[in-house]
Subunit: 276 residues, 2 copies
């Protein structure tokens, strides 16, 4: 089963385009988990158990584990193992934003797809397709290429005009028309840029777009959904972390996270239905 097939199946089953990023920032963790042996994993497990029927994917960001070194990587592995064993129908996206030259990328391929056994990974495009090829070759895995990122300064290079298009749009065309021979490419497009999102949707056909930036970063849900959906009214993964994970810092954190997740899931579906 490919990443896209797995994603399509869970979107149907859970009726959801919501992706949660289990990004257990130590400074924001509830007191109740801080004394545990694996506090990040204990936190994640509670969040996952409370939201598994509301999401289409989990997207842990490697940075929130790496800052703890080997102990953090162990907790990321525990998190991925737990999702895979307990909710095997939910795809895992490793948000690692990797990108090295091709021979070295084999190490990152092994990290993401063999060690963590994730279903997809986010990737930097700057080194070109030839460098990314070891990821693209894993046809059953999703390769999610950074296109128009959600940060305020994203435009510094991404908006530069090349051959008449802003770079992000040139890249979107390249990826969808040249890189995607295994049908396993997706693009990252920030919810904070709905106009650019619409332009990208206009050139990539029905390709799935990973859309971070709603919630704490301020991206608008309605605009993102309406600009992002494809001709079938699908093809979006709306991803958020902080606004759900840290809805409460009390012992009720998991229940409060569920409430926030349910609200956002329903909001996405409302706008999606109006877009079709």
């Amino acid at each position: 089963m490919t990443f896209q097939q797995k994603l399509d199946a869970i979107v149907d089953k859970n009726n959801s385009f919501l992706c949660i990023g289990p990004d257990p920032d130590w400074n924001k963790l509830p007191q109740v988990v801080k004394g545990k042996k694996y506090p990040q994993f204990v936190f994640n497990k509670a969040i996952i158990d409370a939201t598994h029927d509301l999401v289409c994917a989990y997207k842990p960001n490697s940075a929130f584990y790496e800052y703890l070194g080997s102990d953090g990587i162990e907790q990321l592995k525990l998190t991925c193992d737990y999702i895979r064993k307990t909710y095997p129908e939910i795809p895992i996206i490793i948000d690692a934003k990797r990108g090295d030259i091709s021979s070295t990328n084999e190490g990152y391929v092994a990290y993401a797809f063999d060690y963590l056994q994730a279903d997809a990974i986010t990737l930097h495009p700057y080194l070109g397709r030839e460098a990314v090829q070891p990821f693209l070759d894993r046809a059953d895995k999703g390769c999610i290429i950074l296109c128009r990122t959600s940060n305020p300064g994203a435009g510094e290079f991404q908006d530069l005009l090349v051959e008449g298009d802003p770079l992000y749009l040139y890249l979107a065309k390249k990826v969808s028309k040249k890189w995607n021979t295994n049908n396993n490419c997706l693009l990252v497009v920030g919810a904070t840029y709905p106009k650019e999102l619409a332009a990208i949707r206009g050139v990539v056909g029905n390709m799935t777009l990973l859309i971070p930036g709603v919630g704490a970063q301020g991206g608008d849900v309605q605009q993102s959904v309406q600009a992002g959906v494809n001709s079938k009214g699908t093809g979006i993964i709306i991803s958020t972390s902080r606004s759900i994970l840290f809805a409460s810092t009390g012992a009720d954190f998991a229940q409060k996270a569920r409430n926030e997740a349910e609200k956002l899931k329903n909001e996405i579906n409302t706008y999606r239905e109006r877009s079709i």
Copy 2:
């Protein structure tokens, strides 16, 4: 002491512009280390002990550790700790090619500079300066931005014309003129592209360039040195891994690595002296 000061001091002391990447690819490790508890670290330690008076830096690439998961990260940490304690005058460059949005980059900053206590890190530019700022803010650390990479397909985006310049040159100007307010930026330029290297040197003043790609990747030492040096006949870090690390797969691997390192160090100096 800043990264650049530490680098300048060891360049003087060891009379060397050679950087070795301890990238302990499991498939290439000598049999003699494979049975050890921490084979990658044992291998690195032997290489480092045999070459410490010949180099200006060590540059471990995170990918060669991550593929082993938490156990690999532990060996990367052991390697960095060993260098720092035994040869504190030698700078450590983490070749991690990271690049996320700014709040998330704080996790990577902590990984590279606080957990591993490295002196510098390699970074992707695609998200712009605003995203990279948490790295740039660590004024004592080196921020080594990917500019013209050594891989065969590097030109796909890096050669695109923007405002009259190829993107790599536009980026080199941006970094040297706008990003470098803390004087802690460097650029990565592949030895496999001496023409582009000369063009970059032409616009960045005396900024130090990290030049990978000699050895296994086929970059020419003479051309790289002559195109890369700045007006003081310095400002280059010539980095190589495989051709030194795996010069022998026998029990004499460290001695053979030393021989190769010495040869390359001297070759670099020969061409450097002719360039001044």
